[in-house]
């Protein structure tokens, strides 16, 4: 039985991790495309339009990848987590079905029009289709986050005698206190990824002395969007989410912060250290006293329960992974603010385009917002363990009762092979698009 859950979890983790490489770019990029397209409508400078269309090519590749890796996500609720689907489907089915009907449809229908229909529709309608693509992709984010928020902090339900969760208040799915902070945090994170991607392409063009006009425009826009979004990520949205975890999932909070023992007055904030699960302490710890209590409750000596206050079965089952995910996310987020802040400063001083070390740094930082996004989701998902529906339904109770672990391992191996191929092709294609660069409109 243990074995069976392991492969189901591993398959879901693998497929969702791979899937989320793509939507995090498309959500943020759609906003930036709308920005460029809008700017073109206002001041009619062709290069804004060229950039919008160039970015849309990158968007389209990512969107296709998102679709074909996204369908397996929806299927896996039924194939691998049948019991969970049966028990909670009448609730999370609502938000998932709405995602498909309202957002995903909007995005994919108007994406085709945006790509193929510019001449057909004229510029204003073309802007509108771009805006609808943006609306669709952020709408998808909203409904998926609403689903996840319900699993993190269930609301508006009733449990029947047979264990089934039944919806008794529809609107509470969307007024869930978990939802808005998580949604905003997630969206700014995806804008951060996109900002880094376009900054990186811009830096690449400048360093190669190629497509210089476009390169400067991409970099300039990227670092400004990047600074704003990475600051908003930390404050207020990151702070807001951390307070939610402290309030609704105190056991996860202790684990992700690495607090093994409760301190009498005021909890320290851990910057570095490795969880030692045998001796129940952090090795090589560097920590600042009382800061965590202040950040969480604005009181220096407020007590925060450590892991010693919880029973073993209430604590997340992989504490080191949760702890590292959280610290990697926060650490990278801090670096992002620093690099983007410096870039904007030098942009303002008109030195950015000549500062080679900074340009190289920006170019090579591009994988890291992806890592921060994905580890951020690991914090949410590992932190929710050992539950699927926090406090109510254990992960081990949600698995498909009839699918053997041998079958799951078989399909997991298949997914790994196919996604390797897919990832390779994706890189080739995006590389090719970036190599070709934006093209001026031919009249």
């Amino acid at each position: 039985m243990e074995d069976m859950i392991f492969y189901d979890r591993l398959q879901f983790a693998f497929t969702i991790t791979f899937h989320y490489i793509f939507p995090q770019l498309t959500m943020g990029l759609s906003l930036i495309i709308v920005y460029f397209k809008g700017k073109y409508l206002i001041n009619k400078t062709e290069k804004y339009n060229d950039i919008a269309k160039f970015l849309m090519k990158i968007f389209a590749v990512n969107f296709t990848m998102g679709v074909i890796t996204g369908i397996p996500m929806e299927f896996q609720f039924g194939t691998n987590w049948a019991k969970f689907s049966e028990l909670t489907g009448s609730i999370i089915g609502q938000t998932l079905a709405m995602e498909g009907m309202f957002s995903f449809f909007l995005e994919s229908s108007f994406l085709a029009l945006f790509i193929f229909g510019e001449k057909l529709m004229g510029q204003k309608l073309h802007f509108l289709t771009g805006f609808l693509v943006f609306l669709g992709s952020w709408g998808s984010g909203w409904f998926i986050l609403a689903t996840n928020a319900w699993m993190q902090h269930p609301v508006g339900y009733e449990i029947l005698d047979n264990g089934k969760f039944v919806l008794d208040n529809f609107s509470s799915l969307f007024s869930n206190p978990w939802l808005l902070p998580a949604f905003l945090h997630n969206q700014f994170a995806s804008v951060t990824t996109s900002s880094f991607v376009i900054s990186s392409i811009g830096a690449f063009y400048i360093l190669r002395d190629k497509n210089l006009d476009y390169g400067k425009l991409l970099l300039k826009t990227g670092v400004v969007f990047g600074l704003v979004s990475s600051i908003l990520l930390a404050f207020p949205t990151g702070d807001w989410n951390a307070k939610n975890v402290a309030k609704y999932q105190p056991a996860s909070f202790a684990a992700m912060e690495g607090i093994f023992e409760t301190e009498e007055a005021g909890a320290e904030i851990v910057l570095i250290g490795q969880p030692n699960m045998v001796e129940k302490k952090l090795d090589n710890k560097i920590a600042v006293p009382n800061i965590l209590s202040f950040l969480t409750y604005q009181k220096w000596d407020k007590q925060i329960p450590g892991m010693d206050k919880f029973k073993k079965e209430e604590l997340p089952d992989n504490i080191p992974a949760l702890y590292y995910s959280y610290h990697i996310m926060v650490g990278l987020g801090t670096i992002f603010i620093g690099v983007m802040g410096m870039s904007v400063f030098f942009l303002w001083r008109r030195k950015l385009f000549n500062l080679k070390p900074l340009l190289w740094t920006i170019m090579f930082l591009v994988p890291f917002p992806y890592i921060a996004n994905i580890t951020g989701w690991y914090v949410a998902e590992l932190g929710r363990q050992p539950y699927l529906v926090y406090g109510l339904l254990k992960t081990s109770e949600g698995v498909s009762p009839t699918v053997s672990s041998g079958n799951t391992l078989f399909t997991l191996l298949g997914f790994v092979a196919i996604y390797l191929l897919l990832g390779l092709l994706f890189l080739i294609l995006v590389g090719k698009t970036i190599h070709q660069g934006p093209k001026p409109q031919i009249h």
């Binding site: 369908i71 929806e74 049948a82 089915g93 009907m101 994919s108 085709a112 029009l113 057909l120 039944v166």
Partner: protein, 357 residues
């Protein structure tokens, strides 16, 4: 309320098979009949421009099924675990083929992705048919062995095949000779549908030849249909009961038959769209007749111990279903509006249309 959602989901499924069906079909035709590079490209394009907005209908159907009939969703998706995951892989391969063939301009690259597109389209059509065959045949719910369920009564697990390949054995596999027949019917139907789509949307050099192909496939389809109806009686003796009790339901088989009849005149039809409408009727009639014959069951039980999964015993509770009607109707209308806008803006022959790169 259950019936309302059942009908909505059935409509969305039919639309999915009509829309994605033509690009599956285009892939099958591509595999066997496209010889020149020009034809290969334009046929791939006739699928490539549309497949992703067609596949959102599958996602919508899946989402609504999950919401309205969670127990059914859970049981069927875990029970048909392997075939469903294989379908996912095929969907991925097909998409890769369509999206990547035009990316580099040398023949070997294109040939590889053409084959990926063609073969996975063919296998998908076959697998979707086999799935339909499984639904009408029913499964061993509860995994009953000598009168005792080994799972909860609404769960099951089907291997890909059993050693006898017989639908009449106590626990048949996903693939048996009956489901293969239904798979072949689907394959031929979608090939016809795809051929009609190619004729309608492109100026390929094989358009005239395809009409002959459609005519011949239609003969094969008629024979397979009659054969399947005969063996269906063996597998499920009650399959005609619904039609006898509610004669109105006969409208569905009549839709199927009129599509079949119309396609025999494929060469005389005045407009290309008429052929496409005929194959649309085939899909609509085929799916609706199958669902009508097992209604209110959605997955019949093959044993006496556990009852069939019906729209009543797998539905979500009343409150959720009725609140979903509010947004469901809005969403449903939007789906059609989007589809119409898109099809109108991309109407006509697509040969000259820019394929993105």
């Amino acid at each position: 309320m259950e019936i309302f959602w059942f009908i909505i989901i059935a409509i969305v499924l039919v639309v999915f098979f009509v829309l994605d069906g033509y690009d599956f079909g285009a892939g099958i035709i591509h595999l066997f009949y496209a010889k020149t590079e020009k034809d290969k490209e334009v046929i791939a394009k006739s699928a490539g421009l549309f497949w992703d907005s067609n596949e959102v209908w599958l996602v919508a159907a899946g989402g609504m099924l999950f919401m309205a009939f969670p127990t059914f969703y859970a049981s069927v998706f875990s029970g048909f675990y392997l075939p469903l995951i294989i379908v996912l892989w095929l969907i991925i391969f097909r998409a890769i083929g369509l999206e990547f063939r035009g990316q580099f301009d040398y023949q070997m690259w294109k040939d590889i992705w053409d084959k990926a597109f063609g073969v996975s389209s063919l296998l998908l059509a076959l697998f979707f048919g086999i799935a339909l065959g499984n639904i009408v045949r029913g499964v061993n719910l509860g995994g009953v062995e000598s009168g005792v369920s080994i799972y909860e009564g609404h769960y099951f697990f089907l291997p890909l095949w059993s050693s006898s390949f017989s639908p009449l054995s106590e626990s048949p596999g996903v693939i048996d000779w009956f489901t293969i027949i239904i798979g072949l019917i689907t394959l031929v139907t979608l090939a016809i549908h795809g051929a009609n789509w190619i004729i309608l949307k492109t100026n390929s050099s094989i358009n005239n030849k395809l009409k002959t192909v459609i005519f011949k496939l239609n003969i094969v389809l008629s024979i397979l249909t009659i054969f399947s109806l005969i063996v269906w009686q063996d597998i499920n003796p009650n399959s005609l009961d619904n039609f006898i009790e509610t004669p109105f339901l006969m409208v569905f088989p009549i839709i199927y038959i009129s599509g079949l009849a119309g396609l025999f005149f494929i060469k005389k039809l005045k407009k290309d769209i008429y052929g496409f409408i005929c194959s649309t009727l085939l899909i609509l009639g085929g799916i609706s007749s199958s669902l009508a014959s097992i209604f209110p069951a959605m997955l019949p039980s093959n044993n006496m111990v556990n009852e069939s999964l019906t729209i009543y015993n797998t539905a979500a509770p009343e409150y959720g279903l009725s609140i979903a009607v509010n947004w469901g109707i809005v969403g449903f209308i939007l789906l059609f509006v989007y589809m119409i806008i898109q099809k109108r803006l991309m109407g006509g022959k697509i040969d000259k249309m820019d394929y993105g790169h």
